[in-house]
């Protein structure tokens, strides 16, 4: 269900050179992704085609970042084993990001 947004990539600010040096590699569910140091995880992942960050704890249906302002809590992922909101946590080199495992419990 990947969405690969097309970007104009018009280079609005002449920072392309500087930008490239900020590129880092992190993983999401063991897959490598490219991000820019300091950008929010949710954005880096969506650019990489990841829309579903995890699943509903109740019934396992896929869920993604919804509010991007720390309200909905649906962007919760594990970053290096620590639960964090992907709309708040920022990308850094070598981050190991995983979805939270489905619970498989009742309601």
């Amino acid at each position: 269900m990947g969405i690969q947004p097309s970007h104009a990539g018009r280079g609005f600010e002449a920072e392309n050179g500087k930008i490239l040096t900020q590129t880092v590699i992190f993983t999401f569910n063991s897959r490598p992704f490219t991000g820019y140091r300091g950008e929010i995880l949710a954005a880096a992942l969506r650019r990489g085609g990841i829309v579903a960050l995890g699943v509903s704890a109740v019934d396992g249906t896929p869920r993604g970042a919804f509010c991007l302002m720390g309200s909905c809590q649906e962007c919760l992922v594990l970053v290096g084993g620590v639960p964090r909101n992907a709309c708040r946590a920022v990308v850094d080199d070598g981050l190991c990001v995983t979805s939270i495992a489905p619970l498989g419990g009742g309601s």
Binding site: A57, V58, L103, G105, G106, S107
Partner: protein, 384 residues
């Protein structure tokens, strides 16, 4: 409340307070064929009975209450048979833990006291404790093991009661804060905001932490201890534990609900005042409670806290309930203020209904008279 109100019909019984005590009494009274009004200043089961930890434990119940807790626990597990629906009660084993030598001694002592009162509790070693609860901190030294424990998600229980009460014909009056009772002819008049909102031949006072105030309406002073209990709930987690866990000193109650959330309690206190209903968290107590819980079940340290809340638990000096006739007042009864009252609530509520029906039940140990102080004195209304 409507401005114009016709004179309410005289009911057989008016029950004041729609927690587990009042609601159970009302239910069984109605089943005996009485016309019952159940009155609460808020909605049904929204105070202690709707916000409690829902532990059905013998390890933490006061020893003297074990026989009653056993019966209450049974009733919850079989709610279908008397409430007409399941309320989500789950039977699990229970463990009370010792991490230090001092706690080991305490454990032995407390287990023995409960065993004497009929709780099937045995003290086991670390290996057996870890077999029962693999999620435990492996530094555990000993545990009091009880095969009969369990829990209920308390917040939803009021719904089952509401339906059952309606089926039984009880008139439920919510959002009706009673502020006085008057004797008029052969019956009682229940007054709220200057109006008589109900009339009844008998009354049952079941106001939980507010019982001291209710008794004062009758000119009586009953000593009620009020605790402001703190509970902490996590987000849903994969299974991290399967039993009800406490520690020897009684300051922890921990279990994972079917939905995956873990509730941490154990009588840690917040601040609050029963008159205003205001409560607030004491930060050091929050940290202590959470540390103890995550020490005991280490995987809890990966969780996030979703919510913290406080509720008013009331207790008499001897932790035994006040159940029975109110001295000096005809056809007036009281029920409440027992330690761990959610567990024994259904059993005790039914007992009162049976007693009011003239059935031979033994309420001696619960006699409200033992709790009455002769001289009315100004009450503070503060909870520590």
């Amino acid at each position: 409340m409507s401005a114009v109100m016709s004179r309410p019909a005289v009911m057989d019984v008016a029950v004041l307070g729609a927690g587990v005590m009042g609601s159970t009494a009302a239910l069984f009274l109605a089943r005996q064929g009485r016309r019952v009004a159940l009155i609460d200043r808020k909605a049904i089961f929204r105070e202690a009975s709707g916000v409690n930890a829902g532990t059905l434990t013998l390890n933490m119940t006061r020893a003297a209450l074990v026989p009653h807790a056993l019966k209450g626990r049974e009733m919850w597990l079989e709610a279908r048979s008397w409430l007409g629906r399941d309320v989500g009660a789950v039977a699990t084993p229970g463990l009370s833990l010792a991490f230090t030598e001092a706690e080991c001694a305490l454990l032995e002592e407390r287990a023995a006291a409960r065993r004497e009162m009929g709780a099937p509790i045995s003290v086991v070693g670390a290996a057996r404790a870890l077999e029962v609860e693999p999620g435990l901190n492996t530094t555990v030294r000993a545990a009091a093991y009880c095969p009969l424990d369990g829990f209920i998600p308390a917040y939803g229980v009021g719904r089952g009661y509401c339906l059952a009460l309606c089926e039984a014909g009880v008139e439920i009056m919510e959002n009706s804060a009673v502020d006085g009772i008057a004797r008029a002819g052969g019956h009682y008049e229940i007054v709220s905001a200057g109006q008589v909102i109900a009339r009844a031949r008998s009354i049952v006072l079941a106001g939980g932490a507010w019982l001291e105030r209710m008794m004062a309406w009758l000119g009586l002073r009953m000593r009620v201890k009020c605790l402001v209990n703190q509970l902490v709930v996590t987000e849903r987690l994969p299974p991290v534990m399967g039993s009800v866990v406490s520690i020897a000193n009684g300051l922890l109650s921990l279990k994972q609900f079917v939905n995956g959330t873990v509730v941490m309690g154990g009588g840690w206190q917040g601040r609050g005042h029963v008159d205003t209903g205001e409560t607030s968290v004491i930060p050091a107590n929050l940290v202590g409670n959470v540390r103890l819980a995550s020490f005991t079940i280490p995987r809890l340290s990966e969780a996030r806290i979703a919510r913290i809340w406080l509720g008013f638990e009331s207790e008499t000096d001897d932790a035994m309930p006040a159940i029975g006739p109110i001295p000096g007042w005809e056809n007036a009864f009281v029920i409440g203020c027992v330690h761990s009252g959610f567990t024994s609530g259904p059993y005790m509520g039914r007992l009162l209904a049976q007693a009011m029906d003239g059935q031979a039940v033994d309420l001696k140990a619960f006699d409200p008279a033992r709790l009455l102080l002769s001289l009315p004195s100004a009450h503070k209304g503060f909870c520590s």
